[in-house]
């Protein structure tokens, strides 16, 4: 490992319009080798188009993309074995079992058939090897399609909303798979509209809205930079609103039917003051999240 390595992905000011709609409107970012990079934003933010331009599936109207030091457009066969792409739809061959799907996709890259079982193991589908794709659950299908993207051992993996439409348990299972892939030293570029998920998984995120990147950094840095107050939530009745407002460091206190919510930028002294009053029962502390970052950036609530 030398420090002189080129970044896995360099995107410089790409643009793409469909008719009058600017789907991607001047997007730039760089992804280092081995990094887990997330592109987040609501539906229609331009995430998928951005990803497709980077993968070489679409031509940008303007701007430059360098992928592993190569141009992905026009279709660059030299680059193809080094990138793995999971498409938004689950693209499989009809009526083939999980193992056969992997063997068929693998053969397009000339990899051995044994590789299929290895991949099934990685995504936790070893016991479903002989099940036909259409009989798998949504989460299992997603894992299979990720396995298909990885079957030829690419350096950079692109995943388009791999956790969309999954139940919470299936999402968490998939997080383990994604972490395992990163542990293998792969560079991962993925899109999601779940901000909480990106916060947990990604080294760095780019928040996109209406074709532009609004902010880009490590999730923790983005949240810290927001300077948003911490919310301390108490059971209602333990403390009056006025008493709460009297505590040093409390900026605001709001009450609803079940709880009292205290906003503060100095949670430590506030918490110790609450402890002195013996009102810590059922207490919850909520710090700012990427959703607050999105709210701060766009002035509107985040809606996936």
């Amino acid at each position: 490992m030398t420090g002189a390595r080129i970044p896995a992905v360099v995107v410089a000011d790409i643009r793409k319009s469909y008719g009058g709609l600017k789907a991607v409107d001047g997007v730039s970012f760089t992804v280092a080798e081995g990094e887990f990079f997330g592109i987040l934003g609501p539906n229609g933010a331009g995430k998928t188009t951005t990803l497709e331009i980077v993968e070489g599936l679409r031509k940008a109207d303007d701007g430059r993309v360098t992928l592993l030091g190569e141009q992905p457009w026009p279709r660059n066969p030299k680059l193809l074995p080094r990138i793995g792409v999971q498409l938004q739809a689950s693209s499989f061959f009809e009526k083939l079992t999980a193992r056969e799907q992997l063997q068929t996709f693998g053969s397009l890259y000339g990899v051995s058939r044994q590789r299929a079982d290895e991949m099934l193991e990685l995504v936790g589908l070893a016991d479903k090897a002989d099940v036909q794709e259409n009989k798998l659950s949504g989460g299992q299908r997603q894992r299979l399609s990720i396995a298909c993207a990885l079957v030829h051992d690419p350096d950079v993996v692109f995943l388009d909303e791999p956790t969309a439409a999954l139940d919470p348990q299936a999402r968490r299972n998939l997080w383990d798979v994604l972490r395992a892939i990163q542990a293998r030293g792969k560079t991962i570029v993925y899109t999601t509209h779940y901000l909480d998920e990106a916060e947990i998984l990604c080294d760095r995120v780019a928040i996109m809205d209406r074709g532009r990147i609004l902010a880009m950094d490590a999730p923790a840095t983005l949240v810290r930079g927001l300077d948003a107050p911490t919310h301390v939530v108490l059971q209602k009745g333990l403390l009056t609103r006025e008493a709460a407002r009297g505590i040093t460091g409390v900026e605001d206190a709001q009450e609803d039917e079940v709880s009292l919510t205290i906003s503060t930028r100095k949670p430590a002294p506030v918490l110790s003051a609450l402890a002195e009053r013996g009102t810590l029962d059922g207490l919850q502390v909520r710090t700012a999240t990427l959703e607050d970052v999105f709210l701060g950036l766009t002035g509107r609530e985040y809606r996936a």
């Binding site: 066969p77 074995p81 693209s91 061959f93 009809e94 996709f105 890259y109």
Partner: protein, 347 residues
């Protein structure tokens, strides 16, 4: 495994595991072969059934002709009622030396046949009764003619039709479904050429056509149907392959235009059904008006049918392949080129 081989294997597996496709490729056309084969099986050998009243040498002579089947009735009124009702074409009433034939005026052909046979028998009787030696002699001799027994005609026609179904539907549905499910896109992201993907799909279609040929000919040669192949049946193989590529090209064209499987099925049916009827799949196109025969020449199925008939059952040689093959190749090239131009990897 090479990409070509594994793509072919993947498609064959998908094909064999899809009952619906198997039905439309094998059972559906086979049903037509069986139904038409049985329906038309012994047409032409049917005796004409007529009513008969009375007895005597004339009726015995009529029975011996082998052309008429006599249904006996006790009285003239019942027999005539049968003719009046349209159940039987004619009634022969023998009363001593008098022979009356009542016939249905609506069916002139059957009536002519019956009257001819009856008058022949009566004349013979008269001649015998008059003890005059016959001056003219008649001898009937059978000739092998070019018109075919129905099964001989149906098998090549229905086989060609079945191949057009599997060719057009196979290409169109694979293309539409792979594009919709983004399999095409996924393949495009792999270092494999479009030619590899296309040729493996064509190979699967050709294999399907050969399998159809084996199954259909095997069923048609069963004793119930009685197909008899000529010695040069293997000349049909190039036609099977060329026909498949021509229909595959049509399927690609359909697949290029249609966005959903439903639309593609509809479009494929709209092309295949009229083509099948006008190309002589179920009945000889020679019976159709001249202008319709001219129109039918634009269909590749028409030429495939002609070629298949010639080499499978008419016993013609290599030279009969020339025109059909040339037409099918030209068709494949022209339609294939247009389809390639219109091809889209994604919607």
């Amino acid at each position: 495994m090479t990409a070509f081989r594994s793509l072919s294997v993947a498609m064959v597996k998908g094909f064999l595991r899809d009952r619906m496709t198997l039905f439309f490729v094998f059972l559906f056309p086979l049903m037509f072969l069986v139904v038409f084969g049985l329906l038309l099986g012994d047409s032409g050998s049917d005796k004409t059934k007529i009513a008969a009243v009375g007895e005597g040498p004339v009726l015995s002579a009529l029975e011996q002709t082998g052309a008429l089947e006599l249904e006996e009735y006790g009285d003239e009124a019942t027999a005539r009622q049968k003719v009046n009702d349209g159940d039987l074409p004619a009634a022969v009433v023998v009363d001593g030396d008098r022979v009356d034939v009542w016939f249905a005026a609506s069916d002139q052909v059957a009536a002519g046949t019956v009257i001819g046979i009856v008058s022949g028998a009566v004349d013979k009787m008269n001649l015998g009764a008059a003890s005059v030696p016959p001056r003219f002699t008649l001898e009937a001799k059978p000739v092998e003619d070019a018109s075919l027994k129905p099964i001989q005609y149906l098998t090549p026609g229905i086989l060609s039709w079945a191949i057009s179904i599997s060719g057009v539907f196979g290409a169109a549905l694979t293309m539409v479904s792979w594009r919709k499910k983004q399999v095409l896109r996924r393949i495009r992201l792999a270092p494999v050429s479009a030619t590899t993907v296309l040729s493996s799909r064509v190979l699967v279609s050709v294999g399907t056509a050969l399998a159809q040929g084996v199954v259909f000919v095997a069923v048609a040669t069963l004793p119930v149907f009685g197909l008899q192949l000529t010695g040069q049946w293997y000349l049909a193989l190039p036609l099977l392959v060329l026909g498949t590529t021509a229909f595959f090209a049509i399927g690609m064209l359909v697949g290029a235009f249609c966005k959903t499987e439903e639309a593609a099925s509809g479009a494929a049916n709209i092309i295949i059904l009229p083509m099948a009827f006008l190309s002589g799949t179920f009945f000889p196109v020679e019976n159709a008006p001249a202008w319709l025969q001219t129109v039918s020449n634009v269909f590749p199925l028409r030429h495939m049918n002609d070629g298949m008939l010639d080499v499978l059952v008419r016993g013609k040689g290599l030279e009969s392949l020339l025109l059909p093959s040339a037409v099918l190749i030209a068709f494949t090239l022209v339609v294939g080129t247009i389809a390639t131009r219109l091809f889209r990897w994604e919607d």
